[in-house]
Subunit: 426 residues, 4 copies
Amino acid sequence: MPDFATPTLGEPRFPSPLKLSNVPGDFIADYTRPDARILYDPTGATPGVYFELAGPRERIYFEGEGTTAGIVTCGGLCPGMNNVIRGLVRRLWYSYSVRRIYGFRYGFLGLAPRSPEPPMLLDPGVIADIHLSGGTILGSSRGPQGAEEMVDTLQRMKVNMLFVIGGDGSMRGTHAIYEEVARRGAKIAIVGVPKTIDNDVLFIEKTFGYETAVAIAADAIKAAHVEAVGSPKGVGLVQLMGRSSGFIAASAALASREANLILVPEVPFDLEGERGVMGYLRWRLASRGHALVVVAEGAGQEHLPKSDEHDASGNVKLADIGQFLRERLVREFKPEGASIKYIDPSYIVRAAPANASDSIFCGQLAEEAVHAAMAGKTGVVIGYWAGRFTYVPLTAVITGRKVISPDSAFWRSVIEATGQPPLLNN
Amino acid sequence: MPDFATPTLGEPRFPSPLKLSNVPGDFIADYTRPDARILYDPTGATPGVYFELAGPRERIYFEGEGTTAGIVTCGGLCPGMNNVIRGLVRRLWYSYSVRRIYGFRYGFLGLAPRSPEPPMLLDPGVIADIHLSGGTILGSSRGPQGAEEMVDTLQRMKVNMLFVIGGDGSMRGTHAIYEEVARRGAKIAIVGVPKTIDNDVLFIEKTFGYETAVAIAADAIKAAHVEAVGSPKGVGLVQLMGRSSGFIAASAALASREANLILVPEVPFDLEGERGVMGYLRWRLASRGHALVVVAEGAGQEHLPKSDEHDASGNVKLADIGQFLRERLVREFKPEGASIKYIDPSYIVRAAPANASDSIFCGQLAEEAVHAAMAGKTGVVIGYWAGRFTYVPLTAVITGRKVISPDSAFWRSVIEATGQPPLLNN
Amino acid sequence: MPDFATPTLGEPRFPSPLKLSNVPGDFIADYTRPDARILYDPTGATPGVYFELAGPRERIYFEGEGTTAGIVTCGGLCPGMNNVIRGLVRRLWYSYSVRRIYGFRYGFLGLAPRSPEPPMLLDPGVIADIHLSGGTILGSSRGPQGAEEMVDTLQRMKVNMLFVIGGDGSMRGTHAIYEEVARRGAKIAIVGVPKTIDNDVLFIEKTFGYETAVAIAADAIKAAHVEAVGSPKGVGLVQLMGRSSGFIAASAALASREANLILVPEVPFDLEGERGVMGYLRWRLASRGHALVVVAEGAGQEHLPKSDEHDASGNVKLADIGQFLRERLVREFKPEGASIKYIDPSYIVRAAPANASDSIFCGQLAEEAVHAAMAGKTGVVIGYWAGRFTYVPLTAVITGRKVISPDSAFWRSVIEATGQPPLLNN
Amino acid sequence: MPDFATPTLGEPRFPSPLKLSNVPGDFIADYTRPDARILYDPTGATPGVYFELAGPRERIYFEGEGTTAGIVTCGGLCPGMNNVIRGLVRRLWYSYSVRRIYGFRYGFLGLAPRSPEPPMLLDPGVIADIHLSGGTILGSSRGPQGAEEMVDTLQRMKVNMLFVIGGDGSMRGTHAIYEEVARRGAKIAIVGVPKTIDNDVLFIEKTFGYETAVAIAADAIKAAHVEAVGSPKGVGLVQLMGRSSGFIAASAALASREANLILVPEVPFDLEGERGVMGYLRWRLASRGHALVVVAEGAGQEHLPKSDEHDASGNVKLADIGQFLRERLVREFKPEGASIKYIDPSYIVRAAPANASDSIFCGQLAEEAVHAAMAGKTGVVIGYWAGRFTYVPLTAVITGRKVISPDSAFWRSVIEATGQPPLLNN
């Protein structure tokens, strides 16, 4: 178990400008007490391990007026990035009177000397309507930059707090910034808002954009279902995001309730043979006349030639399971008159604006990120656990990835909903 | 603290027909162990109080083939009712081979001798596409019926398990049925799926339909915002559901991020005076030119004449705060050239089909309800706590209502998002 | 038949800066020839009556660079107003290099000396994302202002062309401006873009926002349908816009295909008696168990007490047919156990952003309005007839209102779709 | 100019059961007079050429009670197919009391002896909610079947009228059926409802599903725009339907107002060179930092290797311009740091349910098709011209395809909206 203690820049120095209360029952919302925490394991089976609860502290580290904040968005697009930017700016501006807020352009590239564009100055007017569009007004990019030169930029621009909205790779980069800042003894709060459309951040129940992504992906599954039932022996095949974790594929299938087979990276499967994928689909086509398969992009990599290439984020390039399956299905069933319809809605999912639920969530994440930085928390990301917002140290987050446990109630729901065999092996 | 132990019909008698596993790490989803549980208080501050975790048991009480199930939907409409019906029928049919499933018509009325229509026979064909529409194919009605005559009907039709999809009042009715069944020593499992668009069920984090309702309500708030900024001195006023609990109003306001004032039943307010509602809105109109108010139907009842009337569900009829505020706003600001636009989207919210997130949730609730009844659990509702599905005894659920705590982080988010004074009193 | 000749400011003086062609078959889009026209009656039964076709002329009256344009939005909100504003600004700016574009605030009020706010300066940056929101960034107001003082403002600000986005009443006001401009011999082009959610502009097939309004209204009808079938003897009642013309009510009913009765201003009906509204609904409830009524706000005024009041636009205040019918239905059917659900989605419809179809249409209307003004056309509105954009003189437009002909194929479709008696009279 | 006279089975023999009127001004909808017609050219420049107007005739050819109807859906999916099926069944059933309605399965295949499934019997219960889903409950297939064996089936099943919902290829097949029926002197009315997502049917202004397709396609363009502006040197590329006609690509671009370049089959372009596609995009990337290209699948075929293959519908297989352009863009701009995001939303567009506007249109098309068949019209499709429903002989329809005229106002709007050069040639 990693250490979940939250690093700080130092003792809080100023009273909070928020007009909250400490009195229960006075109808006024309360500050979060410094010792507020939540069990890591709500079943009670792992006593003594806690996350610190997020929230506004009564005493804080930075005074809003002289403070400079920076915001940067990294990695692939994800619904809600603009909502988080908007929330950060509004809370910095209205709750703490921070008036100098830089938006660095195109990810960590915007913190490097070779940044294609200078940072934008953000205020409530600039960001007023950005939540109506998907994507990020700051732009994004993949891949790391040198921690030293990024911290040079922060120091040169006198940035006191940096908010990084980014995924797995970016959290590693953020950790490097945090360590370089610490090495220099600089008083810059480094706070992450985890952004991963795959919902695969360790120690965090749900990341923003995920619910929206599931909703849009479920629409793609519905389209594939309509196509599948619309032809004699129709086979729909939908590839969804999910490099290491099949949450989107599984949840979208639960939402649409039409898929007959879900393939995720966490559960191995035989492709051939009567009890493998092909055998199951053959049975399904014979008995029901159509079939619908949803596959996460990281599933079944063992059936594909390994790649040595890496993408800009430094991840091994996945072999294309969607195209592979499509061709395999065509070879198997087209001679018998089947038609195979393949949908990969990737960019449509990524570029969608946040739905209502994610809008709420993004606003709250931004709020907590601002409270964290103002209170001098650093080297943390804003987490969500058992329904509460938490601080999770970057050192803990980067130790791995959250995956679906095949033993879990969630995976059991998926198996029950699709009717697929619990395990596709011969 | 009420007793959270789950009543049962007796010792399980049969092996489950589900092909699940008990072996960790075998890639096959697992049965839920009989002693699985979760802490009532995940902060760890109230040790020793637990909810039983829902899930399929390895040994069960009913054998699917001879079993008769009944389903009834009660009270006002709520997004997702058809999804729950569909989920119940599919899991009964496909997972446990139950082949006799009655859908009682128009709420408890359909269990009474004076039922306007006989029950429908439900099977996977009948319910195939019902989730595409809002409402309930069974129809609903408000108000109780005699427990004795309802249990007479269940016994006459040899119903072994009754699923009640209903709200606060209906859970009281369900409890009466449960007690009458127990009094007779009948072996009928009574399982509730809590349905309340207000999200106000005690000991349950989230009820189905709530997220959809928030999304539709947020659209109404956006419309009111557009109207408010579209006129000189425009005031938008939106009334939303929420008799005792302002969750929808508060969450919809968080989702739209446009409201300047949220009034909920949990937080009292002064109407008049400089630091009351009118004073705040006067300041807002003077400084920003427009204002947007969201009010839950149960808010501010202290400002209205008391009613002695009751509605069909037996609740005291609320005075109409929406109309009252509208008239007060017209009187106050119209002479100065303001225009007041009033929106009450009630039925549009209630009649909406479930969104993706609620579709998943409804399917899982139905799954757990079926597993519960098959395992012989009775007198329970399916709950949701710290992200897991639970059993909550009806005896505990009916002891009160869940409300927003004004001391909570949630209410704090609302206050921060609207910028309204923490308390509107002089 | 009114005169359809288009007034102009004078002979065109400059070559168009657009790089269009006059050569057929060269793959380059063409200028519209000055004599291009379309028959008023495409059945050919009224030969010799034509509308002038809209489009960019090869020679124009104003040179973009020195020109000042004004835009004003009047009356109630309607989906697409922001799209039209955006289209006007973009075409003025990019096609004709007009660089001084004023957005007058809050309707004609913004042209009066007592304007609450000065005009906004509009450019492509300001209007970049406004089409994502409903309403109008300029604000709107109802009611006229003095033509003389408005033309004083135009002359003081050296406005060369004024675009008025407004409805019936505003077109009368626009005509007054046009006449005052003509009286002074000023060279100011006055061009209207007809905005009426009721789709009731004479000599114009379709106005912007109407399709979006129908779509949102159809959703409200679906909600009422879900509510009606959800209760024993459920009656849904939806009131929609339509003061003199029932187009929205009729089209929304055609779109949803669920309504059993449509009441519009154009077709009288008996309320009482076996063959009146109550008798038909009594029959419907007895035979089918539920009923759904859609009423346009101007329908059945003969059954209501007359009002002497006028609204801000100068229209006689309609008596409230929706509330009247609701009460009548409650009195008639509630004693028999019916429940009546009433929906008035008015502001939700008006404040919606334009759908795809209206986005196209608004962009084209704006384009044509700019081409018209640049070519020196004045005293015209941009029309749409037999699928082409036209010029319709204000003098013709203000002679009346377009209504549904009960003899028409359109009304026949409505009657067939609802199954209501062709005429509800005893 | 082809002959537009409508073939008929013979003199009408029965009075219509519809209770319509012939009296103007009686508030009752009217029958359509047998001589009702509309000019082919509403500009009046081609006098004497008319389409017959569709509508219910006072005297009809078939008596509903003994009549057997058949419905078949052919070709690729298109939004609204289920709406048309539903409309046909409801009008046959409710307006004319036709009680035997066959739904042939999987296109013309269902009329062939080797049909994989027997026809469905359709009634209002079966089709009640099918319009809530996209696709077709009958299934579809591509490719022709022998006219003789299809007419054998019709005669064996005593079908009096066949409704074919199908596209270009299917209309050729329908024509063959019509001719074979005529050759045999059989009294079977053959009526087409043109279904082409490309909107490319000759002599018909608008086909069903097109507006929905444009709306969904516009969402894909918005996603590509968000992706393009989200990366440094981002290039979005969207491929849309449109084999011979670029209507969807052009209209979707007009709806989204974000595209910088539209490529359609009707307008040739240079790919290379400073004034070709690559040169224009290079300029755009240099000056604005991102670019968005929309290409119809049939565009630019001259730049691609010719194919000898044909698809199941008998069309020459198009070379894949989308993939070709994507690779060309990657080769050109990726070395400079650009990222190219490619979206092909084809199946998502095709499988969508009809929007409100198409729901109205589909219902009216179905209505007119039923009136046509009952009146003994045959060898016709239901057209739409200058805002009215018409009959267009199959013989005329199959003479070619409707395309965008580059000289037209529509194409001019596209050029103005994108800002692309009027012609991309060196």
